[in-house]
């Protein structure tokens, strides 16, 4: 499943890039992120509680960044496992300067498995888009603090 979108952020790409690779900002922005721990360079362990409304589950996750080309692009690999199944995703994130803002394009290949795939398939894409939306919303709110 491909989930993609574009967001406009009120900072130049270099600042956005720095924030996106800053664990403190990530922790604030990732929906339901209860813990984010650095395990290696560009690698983090996370504890997430994600879902929608009553349908929420706990996931142990890993986040890894690769293919870093500041300030233009990088790739984020996500893995989450919980009792309700697993979510794996690879998101390519590209930053484009537009005046004083940054156009952020993301293109994520998301793979969902287990219970959530078996019984929630009709909602997964919309849920993924919503979570992505929540992330960038929270991220842009977290930005000023990242300065």
């Amino acid at each position: 499943m491909i989930v993609q979108g574009t967001y406009t952020l009120p900072l130049p790409p270099a600042r956005v890039f720095a924030a996106l690779t800053d664990p403190a900002v990530l922790q604030q922005a990732i929906p339901g992120c209860e813990k984010l721990e650095k395990t290696a360079d560009d690698e983090y362990k996370a504890h997430l509680k994600i879902g929608i409304a009553a349908v929420k589950g706990s996931y142990a996750g890993r986040v890894r960044l690769s293919d870093k080309h500041p300030p233009d692009r990088f790739t984020m690999h996500l893995e989450g496992k919980g009792a309700a199944g697993f979510v794996n995703g690879t998101a390519r994130i590209e930053l484009e300067e537009e005046g004083r803002n940054t156009q952020l394009h993301y293109n994520a290949d998301v793979q969902v498995g287990g219970l959530i795939a078996a019984v929630g398939s009709r909602m997964i894409e919309a849920a993924a888009k919503k979570l992505a939306g929540d992330f960038f919303q929270a991220f842009s709110e977290a930005l000023p603090q990242a300065e």
Partner: protein, 777 residues
Amino acid sequence: MSAAKGYFGKPMKRVEDPRLIKGIATYVDDITLPGMLHAAVLRSPYAHARINNIKADAAKASPGVVGVFTGADVNDKCGLVPCASPMPDSKIPKHTVLASDRVYFVGHPVAVVVAVDRYAARDALDFVEVDYDPLPVVSDPEKALEKDSPLTHPEFRTNVAFTWSVANGGLDAAFKRAHRVIKQRMIHQRLTPMAIEPRGCVASWHAGEGTLTLYTSTQIPHLVRTLLPGMISVPENRIRIVAPEVGGAFGSKLNLYAEEALCSHLAQRLGAPVKWIESRRENAAATIHGRDQIGEYEVAVKKDGTLLAIKSKTLADIGAYCQLNTPAIPTLTGLMLTGCYKCKAMRMDVVGVYTHKMATDAYRGAGRPEATYVIERLMDIIADELKLDPVKVRLKNFPKPTEFPFDTLTGLTYDSGNYQGALKKAQQISNWNKLTKQRDAARKSGKLFGIGLSTYVEICALGPSKMMSAGGWEWGCVRIEMSGKVTVITGATPHGQGQETSFAQIAADKLGVPIEDIVVMRGDTAVAHYGRDTYGSRATVIGGAAILMCIDKIIAKARKLAAHLLDTKEKSVEFRDGKFSAKGKPKKALTWKQLAPEAYVAKNIPQNWEPGLEASSFFEPPNCTYPFGTHIVAVEVDRDTGEVKIVKYVTVDDCGHQVNPLLVEGQLQGGIAHSIGQALFERTVYDENGQLLTGEFMDYAMPRAKDIPEYLMDSTVTPSPSNPMGIKGVGEAGTIGATPAIANAVMDALSPLGIRHLDLPLTPEKIWRAIAPVKVK
């Protein structure tokens, strides 16, 4: 009381019904044994992954948990899940009961929790931590054949599980002679049987005796008893299998599953009975699926519609491993590919392919629905391309009734048939001319209206032992009890088909006793000592014949006793209407009720006459049976939404003589319902990562009452010479005959738009995409 007769052929209501309609029947989940523990199975959420590590400590500490077991704990004690029908070149992977180092489909059992109740067992599943490394997945059988495809079983270095071919006649010559060669690719979508009762079992180990009783929701208790000793270390004669009431199966319980061996082992290991009941989600993921073939079909025809030859290359997506009969299913497709038509040459090449999905196996019809669908679609396509009437094309290619027994190119001998007769009758009762006029009028007013036809023949009552992997006979036993009551025991294991009634009808007639005096027992290997169980529409035909054999033996034996008691010669004893009398002295007749006590008390019996009135028999069928018929369907397609509405459904089926027409009708209607599902909406969906997306009733669409049309049903009677009653199996005929009729009707409705073929299921969206092409994002 006058002796009853004439039960055979009567539409009698069923003797098994009272317990079922009162809710006092016993299904496997209704069984509770003292000290019984409950098992829950942890299954893989991945289609393909390496298991690095399983941590069970937290689960073991969970309240009520008695034990948590992984592959490392049990696999060496549970043997391998068997495949009974490998092809000569089959590559059969080691199918352990729990995954060892790898999982290779979603739902693959990884660990089992045993606890004091089902709630505690379910809770503990959440605490078993499995560290998986996901591996590349292949869920598309065509991709699985590509060079760089991920491998389901890397040890084989290929995803090809087996190959199989059937061929006869001069194929090249036939194709050279043809006026026209028509090609069509067809996909037979994967289906999920979805019996409303999921699987389940209760295993009970009797340590003192060293015996095991396994209650299991199965079609095949006897085959399970034959096969289970190969898995667990308990010999056959110390195993008792009980199939209690079984809540539907449709082929999905024609298997020996991992969980049955696992619970048997755990009961021994833990010294307590162990129950496991499958959830619906597990049922969708880890009980066999059906169909799933992709075929390229080619026919050679003359311009008058004469069929010369047919060939196919078929890919059978068998999933991740071979269950009991997995490789055999597509061979049935091959054997029946020519349908009810004469043909000069045929060839079918099957490649069975492993993918990261649940195994396919026998689902209602098992291979034959694919064959009938192919040939019946091709008949319509031939008619369409040659601008011929589809009825005439069929009539042109039928063998004449006088040509039976009819030898087919695939080596079968169709026992009896009159395909023209069924077709003609179906046309009559469907009011064919009026129906075609209705279609013309509907088309003129802009409606999409279509008429479809299927003239089918199928192979059932499987079958002579030479074509089966473990005997094709059936066993029966009849006992006139000391009281004169009759106990009939069958090795066939009916589970809803109604043989408690139809076998009682058969026995009552033959014995000349009221049907109320008869009890039919089945489904328990301690009672029905032998049997080959119920599948392939075989129980009434083969099991019924075995009972008749028993009764013949008993009558012969009783004749001797009667002669002795009537003080006459055996030769002059007549048996009529349940009474034995000396010729010319009907008034001094002996009934079974009078004979039976003499037979058992045995104080006044002939010399060298063995006491008792009991006989058992194995009936070995000389041939399969080949029921046939014609289904005619009219549909209307909603131009806007693509929805299909069946507006007329006519069937004329011929299953020879009918023991109980009410049960025949029930089997046909039930079978047709499966077809309506297959034709219009059922499909098992895996995504490209091997995730099962139709894992619940919420996503797997099955027919409901409102999807069922009003039927016009009739029959013709062409007795089978393969058994003493002249009957043929009918459990799958509906499913085999109906699907192509519905598909042909829909394609006929769409034909004015120039659409030649759409694959099943004919969902609204698929039809809409075909009739109103739009740009899709």
